[in-house]
């Protein structure tokens, strides 16, 4: 049999092999391009902004450092593309389907429709206009959780070079400058700006983020001097007094969190997940 007669036999195998190689090449290229989507944060110590109690202050005049165990944190906030994939698999969380209990009426208002992003919601921009319930459901669907306030603030205090820049006035001022800028109508892509020592992007400079226990922020006033719990409204077992009066950026975050309710959505409030 001459080669021409054998060709049909070989054709199938050639196509098979060719496609296999092409697939392999593209998958490997993809894997190389994507930055680590989740980053391991080493364990360490962290001084929470709000000190435990008056009694604790008496016993321990120095601000108390609390341990944070090592955990994994998403390297950037959840994007519109990520969240779109989630609502396609879980239609009960689509804009027209979600019970009002779990998200107020502006939920995903920057999207074109239930399952179309549109111009206001670029694929790789952080998803915003999202409630705590929705963010929590997304993280749980990935086998993860929303980060706790301690986890989030612990990572937030790192700048490009140091794990703890919480007392670095220059760093605080950079953050305050970001906070003072008006929010763009269309948010830029994730991972295109600030990256800290751990390789985590966008802890500052892009959006504010939901945390699991935002409802522990019991600050009632906006002024940084007004840190007392309103005695009539709260049963105060004594959470008063900041440990660092210079970290105004942190005050703003805690103040913002205390103004939130779980069903609220805000145009510059998104989230990321932890494990």
């Amino acid at each position: 049999m001459n080669p021409c007669q054998r060709l049909p036999q070989y054709l199938g195998w050639i196509i098979c092999w060719g496609l296999f190689c092409a697939l392999l090449a593209t998958r490997m290229a993809e894997a190389r391009e994507k930055p680590e989507k989740i980053v391991k944060i080493p364990s360490g110590f962290f001084v929470p902004l709000y000190r435990p109690s008056e009694a604790d202050k008496k016993n321990r005049p120095e601000p108390q450092k609390i341990p944070v165990k090592s955990f994994w944190l998403d390297s950037h906030p959840v994007t519109n593309a990520d969240y779109l994939a989630f609502v396609k698999k879980n239609p009960a969380w689509q804009r027209s389907q979600v019970p009002r209990l779990f998200a107020e009426e502006n939920y995903l208002k920057h999207w074109q429709s239930d399952t179309r992003l549109g111009k206001q919601a670029p694929l790789e921009s952080p998803v915003v206009n999202i409630s705590w319930f929705a963010a929590k459901a997304y993280c749980e669907a990935q086998g993860k959780k929303l980060p706790s306030v301690n986890q989030w603030e612990y990572v937030a205090q790192a700048d490009e070079l140091s794990p703890d820049a919480a007392s670095d006035q220059k760093f605080i001022n950079r953050i305050l400058e970001w906070y003072s800028k008006p929010n763009p109508e269309i948010l830029p892509q994730v991972s295109s700006n600030f990256k800290n020592l751990y390789g985590v992007h966008d802890m500052h400079g892009l959006i504010w983020e939901w945390i699991l226990d935002f409802n522990t922020a019991l600050v009632t006033g906006e002024s940084r001097a007004d840190t007392a719990l309103e005695r009539d409204l709260y049963c105060g077992a004594g959470s008063i007094g900041a440990s660092n009066f210079h970290d105004y950026a942190a005050f703003m975050r805690y103040g913002f969190r205390s103004s939130l309710k779980a069903d609220y959505v805000v145009g510059h409030l998104g989230f990321r997940c932890a494990k």
Binding site: F20, R100, L101, F133, D232, L233, A237
Partner: protein, 220 residues
Amino acid sequence: MKGKDVKKSITQKIILSFTGLFLTLLTFTSSPLLAETSPSMHQHHHAVTPEESPSPKLDGRSIYHLNSIWKNQNNEDTALASLKTQPLVLAMLYTSCQYVCPMIVSDMKKIEKGLLPEQLKKTRFVIVSIDPERDTPKQLKSFAAKRSLDESRWILLSGKADDILTLANVLGVKYKKETSGDFSHSSIIHIIDAGGVLRHQQFGNNVAPDESLKLLKGLF
């Protein structure tokens, strides 16, 4: 005969090749070998539904979109949904609380005293503990006795931390465990209608029950 055999064998080989191609495509579009290094992130393929209620007419704002299961003071499994069809006077607190919680319970009792017997029969007074570690069903039972709570209408619930957090966030209740083991928390009594919609919140302590009673009576 030989020609036919050759044709058959070529056909077989083409079929085999395309089967192989198909299987290759299948394998490599979901290859674990090429996944990024990360802790295993299991995709939970079941839909995460906010609600699995049998009732077709559940208001969008009803708390019964939550399907948590709790333990009552008799250690019985109590689904949140089992509280449906009755107006609720509800508060989240903890029994070891010495500051304001005793006053919240007294304020709830003021509301209780303001209802007529036939209204009382249809109302449930619910205490949800924010301290499940110490507030076991046994502890809740003892608290109910201490405060002389009529258990035909008072229900005390102990549950899982995540369910407590979710319910608190539905109701706008803030709470924080301090290092001492005590909690700082909101002082609120919630009036919830028979369909599970939050209708009124009474903030603070030692508050006159009038406003809450007015609304509650309107629900019957």
